[in-house]
């Protein structure tokens, strides 16, 4: 089963956020809110992190106190790149067709 399903998938949002460097939960939520306008809650965030960690796409780093930062793995970066490139292709085709038909 694919861990990443679409560009709006929480997994993609988490991986995109981690692609700029390791972050802990609170920093992830704030970053995702800033670049995607999506506010994740603690339950859904750690659901996404659990999936990604079990798939080997992110890994936990030793943290201070109860906060544990996560970073994207090489596999995670490759999967994210593939997903974003696919999304980009679909976006380009979709926008082009809308422009051609005048519907957009």
């Amino acid at each position: 089963m694919a861990v990443i399903r679409g560009s709006s998938d929480r997994s993609v949002l988490v991986l995109t956020s981690l692609s700029s460097g390791p972050k802990h939960g609170y920093a992830l939520i704030k970053d995702i809110d800033a670049f995607a306008g999506v506010t994740l809650g603690p339950g859904t965030l750690y659901g996404a992190i659990a999936k990604l960690e079990q798939a080997g796409l992110v890994e936990a780093l030793p943290g201070e106190g109860r906060r544990k930062p996560y970073r994207i793995t090489a596999q995670g970066a490759a999967d994210l790149r593939a997903q974003l490139e696919q999304s980009q292709t679909i976006s380009t085709v979709g926008l082009g067709r809308l422009a051609e038909s005048g519907a957009g």
Binding site: G41, P42, G43, Y46, G47, R66
Partner: protein
């Protein structure tokens, strides 16, 4: 953090709480301290997360996995039972050697489990017979005819248990190699404490349908296994560990 949030956090699966519980609680406190986030919003999100954790997310695989580190077996004494099977003398968890750590444990049974379980069964029978006698014949004394055979059988089985060294054991891989521990030294089901196991040379441990043959330097040992994780672990051995029935 309110009581409702604590209740919802407690509703997560145990493996989740062990792995993500502290982080989730920390993040929840951070979010609740943030004026832009509503308490109810966080509460509902945690409840959804709990439902998803129960429904969809896999428990991390705790079955033994091969880490690729070769290890050597550490025989800890041995004996031959009345059936000619060789057994290992189990040690207690307190008898770890200096610097030795337990990497993984798989439950098992050494010797003849039916002999080991007989005393307990007979003890149960004695209690049942005793109880039924008291119920059906209230006021009658428990006769010597009823009691003596059971006590003799119990004594015989207890002796047989000792002679055959039948006992529940835990096969553990420690940092020094293979070791056999008395099961009662572990407080939880051994399946639950299986952690990463290093690679085992195929010649050292082989699995049968219900018994495991352990080929150590000083002989071959047979151990009855009850644990499916071990069978799966053996099946996944990169060295192509072969299954065999008992006796080989």
């Amino acid at each position: 953090m309110g009581a409702a949030v604590r209740v919802v956090l407690a509703s997560y699966p145990m493996w989740w709480k062990e792995r993500y519980g502290a982080e989730t609680a920390e993040l929840t406190e951070d979010l609740l301290a943030d004026d832009s986030v509503r308490y109810l919003q966080v509460l509902v999100n945690l409840a959804v997360g709990s439902a998803l954790a129960w429904a969809h997310y896999r428990r991390p695989d705790r079955r033994p996995q091969f880490a690729g580190t070769p290890w050597g077996p550490v025989p800890d004494g041995g004996h031959r039972d009345i059936f000619g099977n060789r057994g290992l003398s189990p040690r207690s968890l307190e008898q770890l050697e200096p610097g030795e750590t337990v990497l993984g444990v798989i439950d098992g049974w050494q010797g003849s489990p039916f002999l080991a379980s007989y005393p307990l069964t007979l003890l149960l029978l004695i209690i049942i017979f005793s109880g039924s006698d008291l119920v059906l014949h209230a006021g009658l004394r428990y006769t010597t005819f009823q009691l003596v055979p059971l006590v003799v059988l119990l004594a015989v089985c207890l002796v047989a248990k000792i002679v055959t060294s039948s006992c529940p054991i835990a096969i553990a891989v420690t940092s020094n190699g293979l070791a056999i521990f008395r099961m009662r030294t572990f407080t939880r089901r051994s399946d639950a404490i299986v952690r990463r196991l290093p690679a085992a040379p195929p010649a050292v441990v082989r699995t049968g349908a219900s018994r495991v043959r352990i080929d150590l330097g000083d002989g071959t040992y047979w151990v009855l296994m009850k644990s499916l994780p071990l069978i799966r672990w053996m099946g996944g051995h990169p060295g192509g560990m072969s299954e065999q029935t008992y006796p080989a």
